[in-house]
Point group: C2
Amino acid sequence: MIAKNMEFLVKNSSAIRAMFEEGKKMAAEVGPENVFDFSLGNPNVPAPEEVGQAVRDLINEGDPVSLHGYMNNAGFEDVRQKVAENLNRRFGTSFAVRNILMTVGAAGGLNVILKALLDPGSEVLVFAPFFGEYRWYVQNHGGVLVTVPAELKKFQLDLESAEKLITEKTRAVILNNPNNPSGVVYSEETIRKLSDLLVRKEREFASSIYLISDEPYRELAYDGVEVPYLTKYYHNAVIGYSWSKSLSLPGERIGYLVLPDELDGAEEIQSAAVTANRILGFVNAPSLIQKVVGNCLDAEVNLAFYDQNRKALCEGLKECGFSFVKPEGAFYLWLKSPVEDEKAFVAAAKKYHILLVPGSSFACPGYVRIAYCVAYEKIQRSMDGFRKLAAEYGLC
Amino acid sequence: MIAKNMEFLVKNSSAIRAMFEEGKKMAAEVGPENVFDFSLGNPNVPAPEEVGQAVRDLINEGDPVSLHGYMNNAGFEDVRQKVAENLNRRFGTSFAVRNILMTVGAAGGLNVILKALLDPGSEVLVFAPFFGEYRWYVQNHGGVLVTVPAELKKFQLDLESAEKLITEKTRAVILNNPNNPSGVVYSEETIRKLSDLLVRKEREFASSIYLISDEPYRELAYDGVEVPYLTKYYHNAVIGYSWSKSLSLPGERIGYLVLPDELDGAEEIQSAAVTANRILGFVNAPSLIQKVVGNCLDAEVNLAFYDQNRKALCEGLKECGFSFVKPEGAFYLWLKSPVEDEKAFVAAAKKYHILLVPGSSFACPGYVRIAYCVAYEKIQRSMDGFRKLAAEYGLC
C-alpha cells in the first residue's frame, strides 16, 4: 500500500523499534538505572537559562501577530542579520542577510540545498563513516549517493579514493564536521587538501561541485581544537547548522543554511533554496524559536558537561584495553570492535545492559559508536560492564 | 547551477517578488493605509490569550530537556492523545494515539503522506480551483498532478469529469475543505457522491485510492455551515490539519495528519508516514509548540472578526454589481471577473490600489481571489475603489 521506495525504510524502522522495545524490556527487568543506553545522540543538558528567558520576554513583549505569523520563507530579516553578524565576528567572514536562510533544523537545511541542486541522477559524495540519514536525504531529491571508504588510520578523509569517485555527475559532497559517528574533527590540512581536490575536479569537468558542510556539532570541540570554517577554504561551500546540540533544542527544529555570494550561481541558488524551503512543506523555520535563537547567539554551550563524560569514558575504556579513535568533537566515541563482526560485539555488550550502535549503520563495519551525551554517573557505573566485556574478549 | 525542475519555480518566485515590490512602491507613493492588499492569506487576528499563557506555563513549569528535546518522530504521545480525544468528542470518531501524527504544519503533513504513498508516475487528482502549491508537493515525490476542471455553477465538484480522469494509476485525491481560493464548503451531498465514485473506481481497478483532505480552514465556516468529517464518509480518507488559521500560528508550523485504522494497509501507512516525517528532514513537529496546541485545543477561534469582514465585503461588492460565489468558509471571496481575461481585471484594480490574485494561479481563469483576512476598516475604505472599478466595467 505504500511507496516502493519506502518499504525498506519501514522494515528498517521496525528493527529500530524492536531495539527500543528491547531496551524498555531490559529496563523493566533490571531497573532503568542499570541500563546503559549509549545508542542515542539526544543531548541531556538542559537548554541554557537564556532560552527560557528569551521565550518569556518575547511572549510578554512581542506582538503575537508577527511573533507567530508568516514571514519571508527565508526567515525573519532581523534574525538572519544577527546570525550573519555573529558568524562574521567569530570567523572573520562577511555574510549579509541574503546569505542566511533559516531552516527547520540541519536536516531541513540539507534537504533544502539538495532539492535546490540535484537533478535526477546527480551524484553526491559522502565519506564513511557517515550519518545514515544522508542516504535518504539524497534519494528524496533523485540523487545517487556515492560512498568514499573510511580512512582507517585517523578517520580523516581518504582523498585518493574520493578522487577516483568524483565524476562529471558529482554535484555535491557532504561533510560532517565534527563527525558523527567518529567524533573526529577534520583538520585544516584535510580541508585544504579536499578543497584542492574539488577545485581540480571542477576544472577537469568544467562543473561546479558544492561542498555541503553539516555542522550541528560545531560548538562541541574539545581541548581547544579548531573546526575550520569551510567557506574560507572553498568557494563552493554551503554550511548547514542547527542549534539542536549547542542550545539543546533538538525537538524545536531550528537551524540555518549559509549560502555565500562566492558560490557559482549564488543568486540563483539563494533563490532556489528559499523556494525549496517553501515547496518542500517547511514553508519557514518555526517563528517564535527563530526569534529565541536570535536572542541567544551568545549563550554559552555547556561543553564541560560533555568533556567530563568524554574524559571519564576515554580513561575507563583505555584501562579496559579497548582501542578507539581520540574523540575531539561532538559527543561520540568511535570504538574499534575487538572482533571483525561488530554486530556480535554489540550483542555481547547487551549482556551487561550496554547499548551501542554498530558501525555498519554508518557504512563502516568493525567499529561501534558510543554516544556519551548521558549522565556522568552512567558513564562511571557502566565501567564495570565494559570491564567484563573487555575480559570476555581477552583485552584485560 | 540549480536543479532543472527548480528553474521555473525560481522564475515564478521572482514574479511574486516583483509583485511584492510593486506593492511596496505603491505604499510609498500613496501611503500604506491607502493600499488595499487582498492578496495574502495571512491571518491578522492575534493568537488567543490561551496560547501565550500556555507558553509561559510550559517554560516556567516544564522540564527544559523534554520540552525542547527529541520525542518519537510522530510527536509527543500526550499531545497526540489529546488531539485524538478532541476529535472523537467533536466528530464522533474513535481515533487513538497511533492515528495522529504531529506535523510541521499542513504543508508538512501533505508532503509526508504523499512521500508515504506515491511511486514514480503515481497520479494525484486535484479539483480546480486549488491551492497552487499542491502541484509542487506532488512533484516533490515523483507524482503526476491531474486537474479536474472547476464546476462553475456552485464550485462544488465536477464528478463526471473526475470519473473520466481516474485511472489505475490514481493513488490519491486531494480535497481542500473549506476551499482556498473559492471560499466554498463542499457539502455532505458532494462528499457522499465523491466517496461513492472513489469506492466504485477502487473496485474497477482493484486499487486503493486515498482521499487526502487538507483542512486548515475547518474551523472557519460561517452561518452554521457544517464541514463534513471525511473519515466518516470514506474508508481511505486521510486528514491534514494545521493550527495556522484557527489559532493564528502560521509561522509556527504546527499541524497533524489523521491516519485512520480503516485505511487499506493502515499499519504500514502509519509507519511509512512517521518514517517520511523523519527522512524528509522535518524529523518531528516543533516540540514546545506541540505542547502549546495540546493545551489550547478548546481555545475559541475568533470567527466574528472574519465574519464581519465577509459580510461587509459581500454587501459592498453586491451593491457594486459584482458577481461572486457565496463565501461559506475560510477567508476568501471568489469574484467573477467582469472580463474573460481576469489578469486584465487584476491590472485594472491596481489603479485603485486594490491587490487581487488572478484565478489562473489556482487553475481557474476568469475569477479572482479576494483574501479578506485584513482589518475591517480596510474593507470599508476599499469600497470606493471597488465602486470605481465596477463603473469602469459598466456594472453600476
